[in-house]
């Protein structure tokens, strides 16, 4: 009958958490490297106007050779020029803004939706739960990318729509996880006690259920940013993401794909940026899982 006491070491709300986090980070060098990388990336995105050698949208005649092919890396264009004679490095730096902002915003929105739906469905149960979980099933039955493309085709491509569409499809996985957590949590005596006190549903969810979900939410939100960035890149690659001429990494790959025989750097630079960013979010998420929530299931 006696449930084990909440593992206090995984709780960010308890004192000494920062020290524990730092100790485990020092032992886990891939995670440490990832976090350094993410900090650098965020700085690069914020300081893009200062760091970029050229404006990202400016076209330069000397970025193209006499035969119309873009010039390679070196000289005035450290990472080469693109088929329109624009500086690849500058576009990469500005592209980091798009990837990060869209990835984080979309996934943040998805997290809020997923937690709300999972919490309400799991706690209230009954018809509310049946309806919410069937909606979740329906959305999960659509192939993610196809669904996004169709939705964006209908709503029109824009950065804002990309964020909403990704959020609209990505909340489902977290909703399921949160619901199953809440189902077991609401049988715990302190939650039953909160009910018998006559606290409102909203307060029980906010004060007695939600805080126990936080470690899991942090883990999945971090991992989810990686997926959201990948989806944004795929959408931009297919031409239904961030509209031209604003640079996004996926879109840069799309614009480079017809030239990759003569200008492979057009693929390598944004591709490497994408991989490193997504990898860093994945590694950071895995580290957070080990730290906060070792029992969390592997996602897919």
């Amino acid at each position: 009958m006696t449930a084990p006491l909440e593992i206090p070491q995984g709780d960010p709300a308890l004192p000494g958490f920062g020290l524990r986090a730092w100790r485990s980070l020092r032992k886990d060098w891939p995670a440490l490297l990832s976090i350094v990388l993410l900090v650098l990336l965020a700085l690069a995105a914020i300081l893009a106007p200062l760091l970029a050698p050229h404006p990202p949208l400016a076209t330069y005649p000397d970025g193209l050779q006499a035969n119309g092919a873009p010039v390679g890396p070196g000289g005035d264009f450290p990472l080469g020029a693109d088929p329109n004679g624009r500086d690849v490095l500058s576009r990469l730096l500005y592209g980091a803004r798009v990837s990060l902002v869209i990835g984080i915003l979309a996934n943040g929105l998805a997290t809020v939706m997923g937690v709300l739906v999972g919490l309400v469905a799991g706690y209230l149960g009954g018809w509310t739960e049946t309806v919410l979980m069937r909606i979740t099933d329906v959305i999960m039955s659509f192939p993610i990318l196809l669904f996004c493309i169709a939705l964006i085709a209908v709503t029109g491509p824009s950065a804002k729509n990309v964020v909403f569409v990704i959020a609209l499809i990505y909340w489902t996985a977290l909703a399921r996880i949160v619901r199953s957590l809440v189902l077991s949590l609401k049988e715990r005596e302190f939650v039953v006690a909160a009910r018998t006190l006559g606290l409102s549903h909203w307060r029980i969810m906010r004060k007695h259920l939600f805080p126990h979900l936080v470690p899991t939410i942090i883990v999945y939100a971090t991992l989810g940013v990686a997926s959201s960035i990948l989806i944004e890149a795929s959408l931009s690659f297919l031409g239904v993401g961030v509209p031209v001429p604003d640079p996004s990494w996926g879109q840069m790959i799309e614009q480079g794909k017809d030239y990759f025989q003569i200008a492979p750097w057009l693929l390598f630079a944004p591709g490497v940026c994408l991989i490193l960013t997504v990898l860093a979010f994945n590694l950071a998420g895995d580290w957070l899982r080990d730290l906060l929530d070792p029992t969390a299931p592997e996602r897919r």
Partner: protein
Amino acid sequence: MSRFLLRRLPQALIVLFGVVTLAFLMTHVVPGDPARLIAGPNASAATVASIHHELGLDRSLGYQYWTYLRQAVQGDLGTSYALQGTSVASAIGHALPVSAAVAVLGVLWEVLLGVPIGIIAAYRPRGLLDRATTFGSLIGLSAPPFWLGLLLLYALAYKSSVFPLSGYSNPYINYLILPSFTLGLGGAAWYARLTRTNMLEALRSPYVQTARAKGMPESVILLRHCLRNVLSPLLTMLGMDLGYFLGGVVVIESVFGLPGVGKLTFDAIGTLDIPMITGAVLFAALFIVVMNLLVDLAYAAIDPRVRR
């Protein structure tokens, strides 16, 4: 078992109904006017109106929905706007073999690459090989598939002409290997992780300890006792992937220029070909629902606890 089916089947039907409704709503609350797109920019208002009438777009949304639902149940998904005279069902029927071939080969690659890597990684946990495969699979998870595809095209089709660059003609298998490999490469990472986790779990179990104590060769323990533990989660993932791939993998088909269901949908979106978009999305979702159902049933057949 039949009890489980009795409970699970209506659930799948409800989800399917939701899928049809959502697919319909998604494409019929369009701000753009497909009639105007068909008629062309110079058409008169009267022409647009007559096309409207022809397509049934002048009827109420409820009526359109009811008609669509009634016909969809009979397998009639309507007629394409863009490809005049072509029924959506037959267009999908033509594209399906391509997607199916990529899907089956893709899943095959996933298993062929992922499972052995997972076994090797589990053999000496935390060893060099384990770390290398863990890291490799993480990169596989993190790389955008379209980028992997382009990279493979660059190396194997452009630099050395082992495979054709793009398109789809006889001999078809040549055009399928790279796309399916690209598809399998990313997924293989998941299979490797799954295999590793479940193998390790089995290796720690009492019956493996007993087998070891009896002096059974390590290879027999790994392959006969532990691999069995991996089978049912593997089956789940396989079914889900197959369902997902069968509906067409847009990015891969677009990179390699394959005329599959994904490409069909993508092209339909460019021309606002609503019956085609709805039909293809519906079709893709149908595969996922059916495969999920099959996976659940297979799971229940293997593990009686699931039946509840």
